[in-house]
Structure formats: C-alpha cells, structure tokens
Symmetry: C3
Subunit: 212 residues, 3 copies
C-alpha cells in the first residue's frame, strides 16, 4: 500500500466517522432518510468544502472525487437503518471521531500552507476544516453548536494545527511528524473525554448583549 | 423570443417563486420589511450563490446580473404587502415552487458539468442549487430545514440531476431533453404533494447522539 | 500616519467592535471560552470572508493577514473576562458598532466595485459585508438574526453602499467622500437608535407559509 493510498483510506475513514456522527444527530431529531443522509454529508464534508473554497481549490474535493460523497452517503444511510446497534457503540464512535478530528486538522492545515496561506490563517483554516462539519450538523438540527459549549474539542484541533504550522516552518512536515501531530490531537481529545475536561465558562451574571 | 431569452425568463420565474416562498416564511415569523426581503433574497439566490462559489464562477450571478436581486427583492416586497391574498394562492405557490425546483436542478447540474465537475459531484451541486435557498430560508428563521424533515422534495431534485448527468454523458443535453428532465422533477414533486409521499423516518427509539 | 495605516487602524477597530458584540452574545448564551472567541471571530470576520469569497480574493483577508484574527480573538477573550464591566459600557459598544457598520459598508462595497462587480451586486455585497458577521453570530447562537427583526441596521448599510456606488460611478471615490459615506451610515444608525426607528412589520394575520 503506497503512502497516497494510505492517506486516502485514512481520509475516507474520517469522512465515514463524521458522517456517522451527523447521521446519529439527525436520527435523534427524527429527520427522514434524506435528511439523515444530508446531515451526514454536511458533517463529513462541510469543513473540507469551506477549506477548499477558502484556498480556491475548486471544485471542492467533496464534488471533485465521487468517493467522498459516496462514503458519506453510504455511512449515513447505514446509520439510519442500524442506529439502535450503533447506540451500543458509543465509545467506539467517540474514539473514531477523535481520530477524524486529528486527521482533518492535519490535512486541512497542510493544504492551506501549501496554498500559500500564512501560518496564522492556515491554523484557523485547519481548525475550521476539522470542526466545520460538526458546526454545520448542529446548525441544520437547530442546536447551538456543541463544539462551542462543551469539552475540549476545537482546542485540540487548534493545538494540532499550530504543531503542523511549526513543523512546516521548520521543514519537518514529513509523514512521520505529521502523523505525530494527528496523534497529538487524538490524544488530547481522548484524555479530555476521559477526564471530562472542559473549557471555562464565564461564571458571573451575563450582561445584556449590546442589542445590535 | 430566442432560447436564451426564454431561459432567462424561466430562470427569473424560478427566482420570483422562491423569493415568494422565503418572504412568506419571513412574514409568518414577524420579521420586518427588510427581513422579509432579505430572507426572500436568500431563498431565491442562496442556492445559486453556493453553486457559483463551488464552480468558481465569480462574482456569483446573483451579484453579477442586477435582474436577479431585483426580481427577488421586488417579489419579496410584494409578498410583504400582499400576503393575505397570497395565502389563498397556496396551491399556486406550491405548483410554481415545484416548477422552480425543476428548473434550478437542471441549470445547476448543467453549469457544474460545464465547469468540468465530475458527474457525481455535479449531481450534488445541482441538487444543492435547487434546495440551498430553502435551507438558507429555514436557517435564517431558526427552523430545522423542512426539506430534511418532510415530503419528497430534495429527492425529486436528485433524480433530475442524475437524469441531466446521464443526458450529458450521452451527448443528449439539448433543450428538448433538458426540458424533459425539468418536467420530470416537476412531475415527481407534484405527485408527491398530491399523494403526500414522504421519505421514511427511522421508527425505533433514537439512540443518544455520539456526544461529540 | 499614512492613509493606508489609518485605514488599517480603522478596519481593525471595526473588527474589534464586532468581535466584542459577538463575544457578548456568546457570554449571554453561556458558551465556553472557546465558543466566545469563535463567535467573536465569526461576528468580526464572517462578513469579510463572504465578501472575499464572492469576489474571489483568496485566501480571504481574515486568513491572509494575521492581525485580523488576532484582533478578533484578543478582543473576544477580553470580553469573556471583563464582561460585567462591559455591560456598563453598553452605549459605547452601540456607538462603536455603528462606526464599524459604516466602515465595513464602505470598504466592502469599494472592494466589490474594484473587483469589477456591477453596481447593484456591489451594493448587496457591501451590505452583506457589514451585516454578515452579525448574521453568523445569531445563527451560531440559535437566534433569528436580530438584523432581520429590529431597528434600522441593514438599511443604513444599504444606503451607504448605494452612496459609495454612486460616488464610484462619478469618479468621486476619494478618501474624503468615502469618509462621508461611512459617516452617513454611522449617522443614520445613531439616529435610528436614539429615536427607536424600526422597519415596518406586516400587521395582518400571517398566512400559512407555502409549506414547501
């Protein structure tokens, strides 16, 4: 198996995992079969579509390579029919989701750097690639995005994207180090899940918004 | 009347119908005049803006040709003042909306194919062109998009976009066949409305989401 | 201080003010630190990102120049820790927000015109640049966008963008006149706030939506 085949397989695994997460949320909201597949598609590919628009890689990979939408649609449809069993796999899904987070962070940041985006912007794009699908999933199901409310999730992606940008600047962005960066995100996310780490919430009485 | 004039008129009819649908939803949510016009604009032109960004046709047609935003704005403003009468036209609006769905599916898929997007991606873009405005309308009015919950709507668009992609591959994408594809979407949608067809909803107790 | 330095400072002031508005809304929704920073980022830079995608200036300025995301993030984090004090500054925030509205309207419209977007489209893009961040903020916090419901806000931006397009057509788009256009938006917004002007809301019993 060549490196690029390995990367494609890893990428499609990330797509499948995020599609499963989106589809599960859609089933819980009682959406119909189409809705479940669509939310799965957005959860799996929304972050990458935004990334590709921002770096002007058009058409976005989600439309240019049929294996991406096919993987997302098949996975989401499978969740639609199998979801009672999936409920028992909750821990597995969370672990796979953490793996997807690590992978999408690394590929997103790397693609932005390769497209000449400066380091800070590339880190933001990398993080948005990883969390964008989940944001889209929550917007479609009329929830305040969970990534904004709970747990260490986006922060793990941000740490990973900064690591990738530093490796890139040092000329160390090879397969080994990039895998390590993905593992770092994966590890932070798993530890955060296990220890129930959360980002702080403001504790004082909230002011009225500026009413604009 | 030349073909391109006919196409433009058909296109603007689609814009007007979708603008009316968005404006009606906004009136029902008690938005102000600007809100009604804005939601009408998004409902009419949001799908096309996304399509044009995805195929790198910039600026999107909604900004490049003033007749598109003007048609959307005037229609939405008319709904704002005339909406009690429109309520009695509910069936007419539904039929026109089905016509708009067929038209936007065909033009969206065709533009994507012309921009060298592979067939599967072009079908997805064509469907998104047709349903994107309605998604935007529902997001702006804080609803779970109705297209994800109810009735055969996006599926009709998907069938039409697949038909267009097949015609294109066979070299048959001429005015006659494309009109037939638009009629196919229109017909499926009307029959689905009449017979109250719906996509299936998962019937079992929903699991907890993956909690990501 | 050169003109371009002045423009950059003014631009970053707008970013800071909109970030503060987004962060305040996020604090009120009990989002965590990351959520507050993220909503601040979207409120400050979302409109500009959309503008840059629509005129094909990629990567968008929010990713291409680190000072933009840094200003947004630092301001939002400051609001997270300081928000009780900010509540007392409500009037100040509203005035600064009106200034940001004027500035973003002028720069957004001007950039679109420079990118060869026709006048009507450029006005729409200019207005979207100014109100887009607030729309994103409200979508992320699961609110119907306040700009669609209340007060003269987007309309002030629209008036300003039309003024800029007219100045541009007349060859008068120099620093003095553009500043006047920004002041016009600022003034309309302040008077609207003071007099509690609102756009009209449809008064009759709303019909059912077209149910599409």
């Amino acid at each position: 198996m060549t490196t690029s085949t390995a990367l494609l397989l890893a990428d499609l695994t990330g797509v499948a995992v995020f599609a499963a997460s989106g589809a599960s949320a859609a089933v819980a909201k009682r959406l119909d079969l189409f809705g479940v597949v669509f939310v799965g598609f957005v959860a799996a590919l929304g972050g990458g579509i935004f990334r590709d628009l921002a770096i002007d890689e058009v058409p976005p990979l989600a439309f240019a390579d049929w294996r991406y939408p096919a993987t997302a649609a098949i996975t989401a449809a499978a969740v639609f029919w199998l979801h009672p069993q999936l409920a028992r796999l909750r821990t597995t899904v969370l672990v796979l989701d953490a793996a997807g987070l690590g992978l999408f962070t690394v590929t997103g940041t790397l693609k932005a750097l390769d497209a000449q985006v400066p380091a800070v912007g590339a880190c933001v794009i990398g993080m948005l690639t990883a969390i964008g699908g989940g944001l889209g999933r929550d917007l479609l199901t009329a929830e305040i995005p969970v990534v904004l409310r709970r747990e260490i999730y986006a922060v793990a992606a941000l740490v990973g994207s900064v690591a990738v940008a530093m490796l890139y600047a040092l000329g160390l962005a090879d397969a080994g180090w990039l895998t390590a960066a993905a593992m770092l995100v994966f590890g932070i996310r798993l530890v955060a899940l296990r220890r129930r780490w959360s980002a702080p919430v403001a504790t004082l009485r909230p002011p009225r918004g500026p009413g604009l």
